[in-house]
Structure formats: structure tokens, C-alpha cells
């Protein structure tokens, strides 16, 4: 399968020079997300996580690369496949995992679950369960930045499935019209639940979906964290300079089903295996790092460190008490 790394019509982000420290940091965060999600899948299998649980495995490079292009104060909003985004913004694995198990130590004190988590401190605005709704909301984050005259940028993630929602196009128009400092990031993992992008979208180049409104767009190899980072930096610079919105289409892939209860019969096992063995973002980062002289013991140390973080999160998520029954009635309205 060819992953489009070339940028059509709008020029390509500069070929990134490989910086060992940066790549190692990215590798570490991607691995944390991978191991966290594997553990979440395991806890789901044990009945400790309920409801819907959408894993990010395979797509880690997208969120890690984009986060590296941001500055403090920039904001992030996404859909329900959100665990990776939260870890990338620096939210604690413990709090995320405890929310998955519906415990009081979770980011929403157990009242939001997998799809609804937030952190004002880390400028993570959710975590939204209605497909496409976060795109309009993301415009609002950017609107507030522009209203206040600061130079913050907001990242609005959504899937290629959501990209067909009417409010996404409404948002493209509003963002371009108002020159909002926002980056639309389409995480094109090829399948909106069980429907392939070819069966869902007449557009063959989603990076150009904003073209009617003059929104510059770029296709990016979303399995290459450095390519993502480079594209992100270009888009962020564009927005921060007051040039209005930017659209990035990340060509990526999810290894797991849409949610835990998806048997994934709409694609072949070979297709998944090919992506895993030939295009995996973590494996390829590791190979590059090996080429840069990173030694086995350094990888082993990272493995151990992450294993400990994830195990600690899983333990915390099982030992943190359920929310007090009185929590049922709190947080409906603010006093005022």
C-alpha cells in the first residue's frame, strides 16, 4: 500500500533533518500510547472498562508529531478516539485509565468515560462523542484566541468518516471567513467504522476538502512521526502568523477494530499485517534510532519505564474507588 508522502498542489514540508533527541522523545511517547492502549484493551476484556472503547493503536505518530509542533497554551480537541491525544498533551496515564474504569480518580471523576475527558491545565478540550461536533467546537477555541488577540493555535482532530458531516464544511467556511487560527487534522485511517473512505467520500484527496474556501491543505505520511512534526510546524507557523486555518490530512491506520466490539470483517488480515510489519510508526522510529546509534539498553530502559507507568495506571484504575453516589447530582450546573 502506498502511503502518500508527497504534498499535492501546496508544496511539501521540508525534509526533516533527523534529530536524535527529538526522535527518541517521540518514540517514547508513541510507545507509551501503544502500551497504554494495549493495557486498556486488556482491562476491557476483563470487564473492568465498560461501554465503548476506541483504541488508537497504529495512529500514534499523528498526535505525537503534532503535539511536538505546538507551544504552551495551544489547544487540542478531538473525537472519541482520544486516549492518545490525552497522553500526548501530558495528561497523566493514571487519570486517563481511572476514567476508563469509571473511578473517582479519573479526569472526569468517573462521569465521562473513554469518550469524554478534559483537562483545562493541559488545554485538552475533549473527548467528544458526537461525530464531527468537535470541529465546530474547535472553531470556537480558535475564535476565543482571536477575540483575545493572543497568538495561540488550536488543533481540531477528526476522522475521515467525520469529514463528511455538514458541520465540518460549515466550519471550514466559518474558519476561512473569520481567519481563525485553527488547524484541521483529518486522521484518515481509511475506515469510518466499517465503511472504507472510498465508499464514503467522493473526494479523492481529503487534504483539498478546504480548497473551495481557500484553506491550504497537505497530505502527510501519518505513520512517520517526523513527517507529521514537520507538517505540523508549517501549519502552526501559518496559523500563528494570522493567515487563517490550515488543513492536514494524515494518512494513517488503526490496527484494532473501530471499537472493542468490532470484528473488523471489512478488511483483510493481510492488509492489517502489512501495515503493522511494513509501516509501523514505532518500529520505523526505532530502526532510525538504531541507525543513529541508540543502543539496545536504552530501548530496554524505555520499555521498562513505560511498562511501569502503564502498570501503575492500571493498578490505580482498579484501586481508585468508584465515585461517591452523591456525585450523581454534582456538576449539572455551576452556582451562580
Amino acid at each position: 500500500m502506498a502511503l502518500a508522502t508527497e504534498t499535492r498542489k501546496r508544496g511539501k514540508a521540508k525534509e526533516p533533518a533527523i534529530d536524535r533527541e527529538t526522535l527518541f522523545k517521540a518514540y517514547k511517547t508513541m510507545l507509551l500510547i501503544r502500551r497504554f492502549e494495549e493495557k486498556a484493551g486488556q482491562l476491557y476484556g476483563m470487564g473492568l472498562i465498560g461501554g465503548f472503547c476506541h483504541l488508537y493503536i497504529g495512529q500514534e505518530a499523528v498526535v505525537v508529531g503534532m503535539q511536538m509542533a505546538l507551544a504552551d497554551g495551544d489547544q487540542v480537541i478531538t473525537s472519541y478516539r482520544d486516549h492518545g491525544h490525552m497522553l500526548a498533551t501530558g495528561m497523566e496515564a493514571r487519570g486517563v485509565m481511572a476514567e476508563l474504569t469509571g473511578r473517582s480518580g479519573g479526569y472526569s471523576r468517573g462521569k465521562g468515560g473513554s469518550m469524554h475527558m478534559f483537562s483545562r491545565e493541559k488545554n485538552f478540550f475533549g473527548g467528544h462523542g458526537i461525530v464531527g461536533a468537535q470541529v465546530s467546537l474547535g472553531n470556537g477555541l480558535a475564535f476565543a484566541n482571536k477575540y483575545r488577540g493572543n497568538d495561540r493555535v488550536s488543533l481540531t482532530y477528526f476522522g475521515e468518516g467525520a469529514s463528511n458531516q455538514g458541520q465540518v464544511f460549515e466550519s471550514f467556511n466559518l474558519a476561512a471567513l473569520m481567519k481563525l487560527p485553527t488547524i484541521f487534522i483529518i486522521e484518515n485511517n481509511k475506515y469510518g467504522m466499517g465503511t472504507s473512505v472510498e465508499r464514503a467520500s467522493a473526494s479523492r484527496d481529503l487534504s483539498q476538502n478546504g480548497a473551495p474556501w481557500g484553506i491550504p491543505g497537505m497530505q502527510v505520511d501519518g505513520m512517520d512521526v517526523l513527517a507529521v512534526k514537520a507538517a505540523g510546524e508549517q501549519a502552526v507557523a501559518h496559523c500563528r502568523a494570522g493567515n487563517g486555518p490550515y488543513l492536514l490530512e494524515m494518512k494513517t491506520y488503526r490496527y484494532r477494530g473501530h471499537s472493542m466490539s468490532d470484528p473488523a470483517k471489512y478488511r483483510t488480515r493481510e492488509e492489517v499485517q502489512l501495515m503493522r510489519t511494513q509501516h509501523d510508526c514505532i518500529e520505523s522510529a526505532r530502526h532510525k534510532l538504531e541507525g543513529l546509534g541508540v543502543e539496545e539498553k536504552a530501548f530496554k530502559a524505555v520499555d521498562d519505564e513505560i511498562k511501569a507507568i502503564v502498570q501503575d495506571a492500571a493498578d490505580f484504575a482498579q484501586s481508585s474507588p468508584e465515585p461517591d453516589p452523591a456525585e450523581l447530582y454534582t456538576d449539572v450546573l455551576l452556582e451562580g
Partner: protein, 459 residues
Amino acid sequence: MATQILMPALSPTMTEGKLAKWLKAVGDDVRAGDVIAEIETDKATMEVEAVDEGKLARILIEEGTEGVAVNTPIAVLSVNGEDVSAAPAPASEAPALPKVAAEGSDVNAIAEQGAKGQRAPALDVAAAPEKDWGPAASITVREALRDAMALEMRRDADVFLLGEEVAQYQGAYKISQGLLEEFGARRVIDTPITEHGFAGMAVGAALNGLKPIVEFMTFNFAMQAIDQIINSAAKTLYMSGGQMGCPIVFRGPNGAAARVAAQHSQCYASWYAHVPGLKVVAPWSAADAKGLLRAAIRDPNPVIVLENEILYGQHFDCPTDEDFVLPIGKAKVERSGRHVTIVAFSIMVGVAMKAADALAEQGIEAEVINLRSLRPLDTATVVASVQKTNRLVTVEEGWPFAGIGAEVAMQIMEHAFDWLDAPPVRVHGVDVPLPYAANLEKLALPQPEWVVDAVKKIV
């Protein structure tokens, strides 16, 4: 080291399944992510993926076995290469069950509250009389709404207005007259006709700390945006465990105007009043409009302000005090009486007042309550009145089924059943889409005579 592989739950409702097929044999190397087995549930065939790496040491459940309970050990994985084939299966590690809620909380009391629905408000039947705001002047509802926005925009730089035609056109119904001139295009913003998009954008701005006023040209068009109003504005505070407040006002004309037919004439009062996380107000007079809109803009929660187009041009006395504001959640007794309580909101308060005049001529003294606020509902004021009059008539322009009248009547059942001398009666719009023809439209919307007839049924 040996690790157990457990029968996984693959959907929110799965409790057991058939272990249909093993795709790995004893002795095979397993990598994380490899499919090791297939499981059939009543819904689908699912693949089981390995989480850990190692060698498949033992298979504990043979393929073809039906009814394997979730969390049953199905295989043993040797993780660091040692031979565990002969070792007994490690003791099943039962998943930790959720801990019982923190000690000291009274679970039964909470459950009882739930069974009662709302926490029944402590009814303060001797509620304080409304504050006297001093001198008043006659203004239109339109001017009252405009003044409310202007005053709050002067008071708080985070407040801004957006919507279709609110700026250069001065408002489709001229509510925002003069605001663009005073506050400029940064704070008075014309949007394209894109309700879903601009409502969602405003909610996002509110989550990010601003205080938007969203004008819908009518609430009929807000149906395009109702997902953002309910799923994003009303629920996010709760879903975020109290982190994400959403201080926003959604306002515009609601209900029937005149001869604009079914798609432009719906009352959404019961729709929004149904939703926890929202506040809903429905002003009648100019004082209501000014006082409630100012309170709505200051409120840290999403507030729906249901206005009425026909009322926009009507004059009422309104306090001139610079600080005039009304509390959300308090009804007003517009007219005192002892024979029957008539409860109404928005334009129907006027209908109820006309009916009360007609009833007075016949010797019936009706007490008219203007609800002002639909959520929270001022049940205490209605209860206090019914305890005096022993009879209740509700009046609303919207449809009867699951309407505001139904809710008010139910509140009286719960809180003042023993004081009732007759069953409550509802007066409401006819249960059809609103027709265009003048004669049919008149037949569909509550008239003062309907209220008089309803009262005379029970007095």
C-alpha cells in the same frame, strides 16, 4: 514467568461465548497483536489478539467449547521462554471488582432521590416578595432586550453577540439596533446562515472562557443546532467532572408569530426544559425580558431565552434602575385571586390576564402566575397559590403531550394533591402542525375564551 490468557469480553454486553477456533498451537511464538483465537458471540465472530509476547505453553479450553464465561483462563503463555507446559495453570486471577463507594455516603438516600426524579425542592411557600426596583418607564420588549445586551456588554468585555443579521442589518427583528455602532464588529458579529456551525463555534468559545450571546433568527432554526446546544453546551460540565463550564445564552423568538405556518411556529419550551444542564427562561413583559436576559448573560451555565415575536413591539413598564435584574427560577404573581390559579408563560400570560379580566366580570377571582423561568421551575410559588385557590389551570401555546402544563400539573400532584378540589385543566395549542389559513390558525392557538371555559369547568 507464565501469564494467563483470559476469555475476553468483546462487547459491552458479552458475558460468555464460544471458543470457535485456535489460530496458534502449543509451542508457537506469539507477538503482541497476533490473532490467537476466534470467539463467537451471539452477534459476531471476533478475533482475540495477544497482549503479551511469549510462547503459547498450554491451551486450557479446547476449540469448539461453548458457553465459556468471560474471564475464564483459556491458555497459558510462557513469557520469558521457560518451560511451563507441565506446571499447573496459575490460579485464576479474578479481576478486581469495583470497590464499594466511599464509606459514609448514604446509598439508599441517593437511590430514593433518584426514584423521586428531581431532588424535590424544599418548598419555601412563604417566599420573599419581589424586590421593589422603584421608578419605571414604558418601553417595548424589543428595547428591553437590546438594553439588557448593551448593559451587559458594557459591564463585561467577554460578552459578545453573534447570529444571522445581528450587526449591519440591526437584527432580523431589530433587537440588536445600535449594538454594532456601540461595540464594533469584533463584538457584534454577523454569521452566515449556518446554525449548526456557528452555534457549535459559540459553544467552543464559551468552553474557552468567553460569554457568547447566540441569536437564532427563530428557535425553529435552532433545531439545526440542537445537538450542539444539548450534547455540547448542556452536558460538557457534567462529563468533565465540573471542569468545563459553558457560560452561553441562546436567544430568539419562539413559538407562533402570525401566519407563518408549521415550520416557523413551534414552541420549544418543553424540549429545552427537559434537559438537565440547561436553564430556560420565557419572558412576557419588558421587565421580564430585561431582567431575565441580564441574569442569563451573567449566569455561568447555558441559558435558553425563549422570546416571542408578537411581544417584541408591545409596551410595558420596566424599572429604570441601572442595576435592575431578575432572578432565574422565580415566578411572578401578576394578579392576585382566590378562586383559581392560572399558570402561564411568555405570550400566554397576556392571554391569561385577559381571561382573568373576563372572569372577574363574572365574579371569579383568578390568580395569574407568570412562570418567567421554566427550568428551574418555581414550584413553590405555584404550590402556595394552589393551596389558596385549590384549583389549577395551565396555559401554553405549545402542544399538550409532555408539555409544560403536564409538568406543572404533575408538580402540583406531588406537592399539593390534598389541596386540590378539582382535577387540573390544561389549555394549550391544538395537537397539529400550525396551519397557515387565518381561520384555522386562530382555531389552533389558545384564546382568552378557552381559558375562561377551562376555569368554569372546575370553579
